[in-house]
């Protein structure tokens, strides 16, 4: 019986406390950052720039890891299962994607194929087959579209912060416009007839399209395909005929093939390029903007 004033007071206090706790927990849940899993270092950077402190980005593919050869671990599958949004590079880069979707429990639409939203793929010939070029991030125009895809995905998962995501995306797109102009001016320092790029694997076709280069790759679109000795010999002849001054290796690849080619042709080693993702956090290519600046500066300075 609730006749005792103390008892009534205790019950009332308990109810108030319970209500306060429930409100606090609900508020915390509503303000919890969006859990975003990224399958690419470039997408991780885009996510941070668009999401800010409203997202928690978990990188499955980290700097220095070859995305062509990455395979998710059981721990990665668990991360994906608990994510609100999973950012996928697409265009055939993640060969493990369907397995990851199945083993993580599918997904209520949380897998976002960013690459499908950046426009048509370049298609390249490799081993007598036509393959899709997955390296779309080397075009700033593509990345600007990717920013829009990420913004929309975050806004759908967290409508309350939609305005913040939109504002951040607009600001970041303005920075990308400035970066594009900066790159065009840097490239203009290099005579157009010298814009010939020999790289470890065929990852720079989008860059070549946007900035007027011609690419001579040692390997094909994927780093898994090794060049034959015939391919290397043909490339050496091409380098000599075209008068290419420098050959570039990549941060993930073994530079020995590049070194062997430079010995045969007299071309110098132009430097390291970042092809399949960003550099380590302490490198000069830790963000997308820094990576693009590093690549274009290395290329232009070596080919001048």
């Amino acid at each position: 019986m609730l006749r005792s004033p103390m008892k009534r007071f205790s019950i009332l206090a308990g109810c108030v406390l319970a209500l306060a706790w429930a409100t606090t927990l609900a508020h915390a849940a509503a303000n919890a950052p969006l859990k975003v899993v990224s399958l690419s270092t470039v997408l991780s950077d885009l996510a941070r720039n668009v999401g800010g402190d409203k997202v928690q980005v978990i990188e499955l593919v980290k700097a220095g890891v070859d995305p062509h050869e990455f395979q998710p671990s059981p721990g990665d599958v668990q991360q994906v299962a608990g994510a609100d949004v999973v950012l996928v590079s697409g265009k055939g880069l993640e060969g493990y994607l369907s397995r990851l979707e199945q083993s993580s429990g599918g997904g209520s639409g949380k897998f976002v194929d960013v690459g499908s939203g950046v426009g048509p793929s370049l298609r390249l010939k490799e081993d007598k087959k036509t393959v899709e070029d997955p390296h779309w991030w080397h075009s700033i125009a593509n990345v600007k579209k990717a920013v829009g895809v990420v913004r929309d995905a975050f806004g759908k998962a967290d409508p309350a912060d939609g305005a913040a995501f939109a504002a951040a995306a607009t600001a970041y797109s303005a920075r990308l416009d400035a970066l594009d102009k900066e790159i065009k001016l840097k490239v203009a320092e290099l005579p157009r007839e010298k814009r010939k790029l020999v790289t470890s694997h065929d990852a720079f076709q989008y860059f070549a399209r946007d900035y007027g280069f011609r690419i001579y790759p040692i390997e094909g679109v994927s780093t898994e395909a090794q060049p034959s000795s015939k391919d290397v010999a043909e490339l050496i002849e091409t380098i000599k005929k075209q008068g290419v001054k420098a050959v570039f290796f990549e941060n993930i690849e073994n530079p020995k093939v590049v070194a062997a080619i430079t010995q045969e042709t007299g071309a110098k080693v132009g430097g390291e390029l970042y092809a399949d993702g960003l550099g380590a956090p302490d490198s000069d290519a830790a963000t997308y903007e820094a990576m693009m600046r590093h690549n274009v500066t290395t290329i232009v300075n070596a080919l001048k």
Binding site: K181, L185, E189, P191, R192, E237, K240, K241
Partner: protein
Amino acid sequence: MRGQPWLRLLFVVLIFAALSVPVWRLTHPAPIAAAATPVAAESTPAPTTISLEVEVTFAGPPPTSFQLKEPGQTILQSGDVSGETTARATWHAHLPKEGVDLTFEAHWPDDAEQTAARIRVSFPTGQTVEKTFWARGAMAEILTVPASPGESPSP
């Protein structure tokens, strides 16, 4: 023992001697510098040298400083403005089949209104390549001049 052991030995030595030459060639490639025949660089047509008239026209007050250049050479710069709003020069251009990128940079006072600059390159045939750029305060733009007007520069 039957047969002639020394003959058999001689036969084996001769076989190994005969095999040694191709094995040596397979395992010891010829030095590149001394033996390799250098491949002649592809005989691309020499860049066309042509005199082109270049004109920069400003829509409003001319900038406090400007420069129009190709890689390695300045074509027009501050101080070349004749009259108030136009600068002209003759550009002795080497035009490869890929074309040439001209870079134009200009600076106006920070409080200047938005303004425009037109870059025009005239070929001896009378054809022109031109572009107009808009900016406020500072401008940095590129105009690609093809080897022939009416052509798109090749990659």
